[in-house]
Amino acid sequence: MALSLKVRRAGAPATPARPPAGDGPRRGRAGYAFVSAYFALLLLFGVAPTLYAVWLAITNSNGQLVGLGNFAQVLGDYRFFPAFANVALYLVIWLVVLVVAVIVLALMLHGRLRRASSVSRFVFYLPGALAGAASALVWMFMLDPSVSPVAWLLHGLGYSTFADVIAPQRLPAVFAIMAFWTGAGGWIVVMYGALNNIPDELLEAARIDGASALRTAWHVQIPLLRKWIAYMLILAFATGTQLFVEPQLVGAASLGEVSDSWSPNQLAYQYAFHANNFNDASAVSIYLLILGLAAAALVVFRSGLFEAGQ
């Protein structure tokens, strides 16, 4: 048993034994039946709008094709590079904090905190329920040293006013903390569920072999989570580049002290719904999509995410 479930290094293929007849999944039509309903939804509400958006990105408002003209035009917008620079800074903090903290906390939920795990999961998840406008009020208070419950922390960091906390150079970190606060809980729940599916025998075997919790985590659990971690990385990167809610919230809570085009996604929104320019908005969105896909491709290939079965 333990042999057949031996841990493989990430990306290394298992040697496929020739499957006897009737053993593995048959190449056939059954798969189509399973995916057909979803496929219909995907075409209608996913593919068609995406294609339309691509169409918008290569045409102008009169419907004439402009090739890459919109892409060039938005590149020259004075807000374009600052927005991408902002998000780049934000991404670095966000990715590192999210991945490390989620894995560590999930492992702890599974290990040391197992008895308190349902309470812990609830507490970690609580902020995730506060999306968008619901958390505007919370942040208006948390970030303002004059009324915040963590005023001692803010004062300790040297911030005496709200304006200090949201000074432009601090925004990437502030947004990363906000996004982490809302987003970590859900991923912790996912990772915890994934950890549950690792057979206890493996962990027993490692324990018997004398592995510490740390080594068990590093050599047994994390490799088995590799597809989940890959998925988290892809989405964290994509949602990071598409940052929108946090700058909007802090802008609302501060009566406008954050630019309404701080992030590229905000810029796309400005183009679409403030400048009545859906074509340039789609161009910016396609830039973001390309970034997300590039990262996804990298992760997919390195982690074997698309490999079917086990």
Binding site: P13, P16, I58, T59, N60, S61, N62, Q64, L65, V66, G67, L68, G69, N70, A72, Q73, D77, Y78, R79, M140, F141, D144, P145, S146, V147, T161, F162, A163, D164, I166, A167, P168, G251, A252, S254, L255, G256, E257, V258, S259, D260, A272, F273, H274, A275, N276, N277, N279, D280, A297, F301, F306
Partner: protein
Amino acid sequence: MQYTRKHRRPAVRWAAAAAIASLAAAGLAACGSPNAVNSQAGTSPSAASSAFHAVKQDTSAPITVWVDSTRLPGVKAYQQSHPGVKLNIVTYNGDANGSNYLQTKVELFNRAGSGWPDVVFSEEYNDAAWSVEPGIDWVAPLNQGLVPQSTLANFAPNALAPCTSGGNVYCLRNDIGQNMLWYNSALMKKFGYQVPTTWEQYQALGAEVAKQHPGYITGSVGDPWTPEVYFWASQCPANQISGNTVSVNTGSPDCTKMAKLLDAGVANKSLTTQSAFADSFVKQYAAKTLMLIGPSWYGQYVFNAALHVPAGQVAAAAPLSWSDQPTASTGDVGGGIWMVSKNSANLKAAVALAQYMSTDNAYQLTAPTYPAYQPAATAWLAAQAKQHYFAGDVTGVFTKAATEIWGGWGSGRYSQENIWAATMVPQITSGKTISSLLGTWQTAIENQARSFGYTVG
């Protein structure tokens, strides 16, 4: 081996697909040119709308009206008193605070060809600017017979300026926020100060307060509408809009001398860099606000509701002028507008509602803010006097200030408040002087204007 070959194929496929796609896109470049930023903005709005043709009218059709929660009771009362017209009332956020909801929806309706509300109330008078833009152009001109000229003439001077484009009036102004000098008369008497009448006196008073009563303030530069409060009053040409051209000159003397005044106040801390609506302001200055320069609604909204200053202390004085200024001028912060869709099937009912809400005493007497329609304003002031909150009579100050709004400050598709809050306030709070930031301010305004399709010149 077999595995790696299978592994490599998708990558090659993807790369090939990507390459073909981008070649195709590049090859298509010859067919058209990208949107001139906001491409239709180049043409003059009057060309589109002077020939206004209403759609087929039906005077018994129900009308859809969008209002915010503050105006909702008034519209409901209108339905009660006018049972003949069927109203479909929808509450929305009033397009407040840059939410952009109205423009989002109107753009979608335009592309769908249907769905516009008949009458809309917006808290942002800037909304009229994009509403008449040729690419959107969804509102009906009201001065071509829909609203009597005599009614239009009775609005306060320049109150309808944000509504006016190409010689036509496209909205009715609900209320105005003419700026004036608010002060705490009890504190002023206690400290033995005279109420200033000129900017020079105001600056001198600030210096005295800083010396004798540090911690008390005479104004704020942290509000998003600081430009409207100080620079508009000083007739600074930071927002001159004519047709589709914007011209900004923050280096002009009217701007620089105001910037110097503000810098002096910030330096001696008689002017705070916090917004009057920030919690920290309330905590720090609730009992220490000697005076604030702000709109007519400051009395109730700031001094009463936010700072809880007891009744009988707060008074208003005339807007300040420079000592060498021949006529008084002041700015205007806020004020809502009523717009009517040009695709309305029942223009008569729609205009009647808009006109009623903006001019009729029955509603405006219950309104929380100063009516833009002068006869209604007179009645409003009389009703306010009965509330006995202010020290002394503010009627004269309010009425006169309403006539002194300077006409040289335009209303465009971009937001001066956003620019000040996002670009200027963070730098001011970090210690830079406003005088040193005037160039930054000008660049920011010009950049925003260009991104909305204006020509800057």
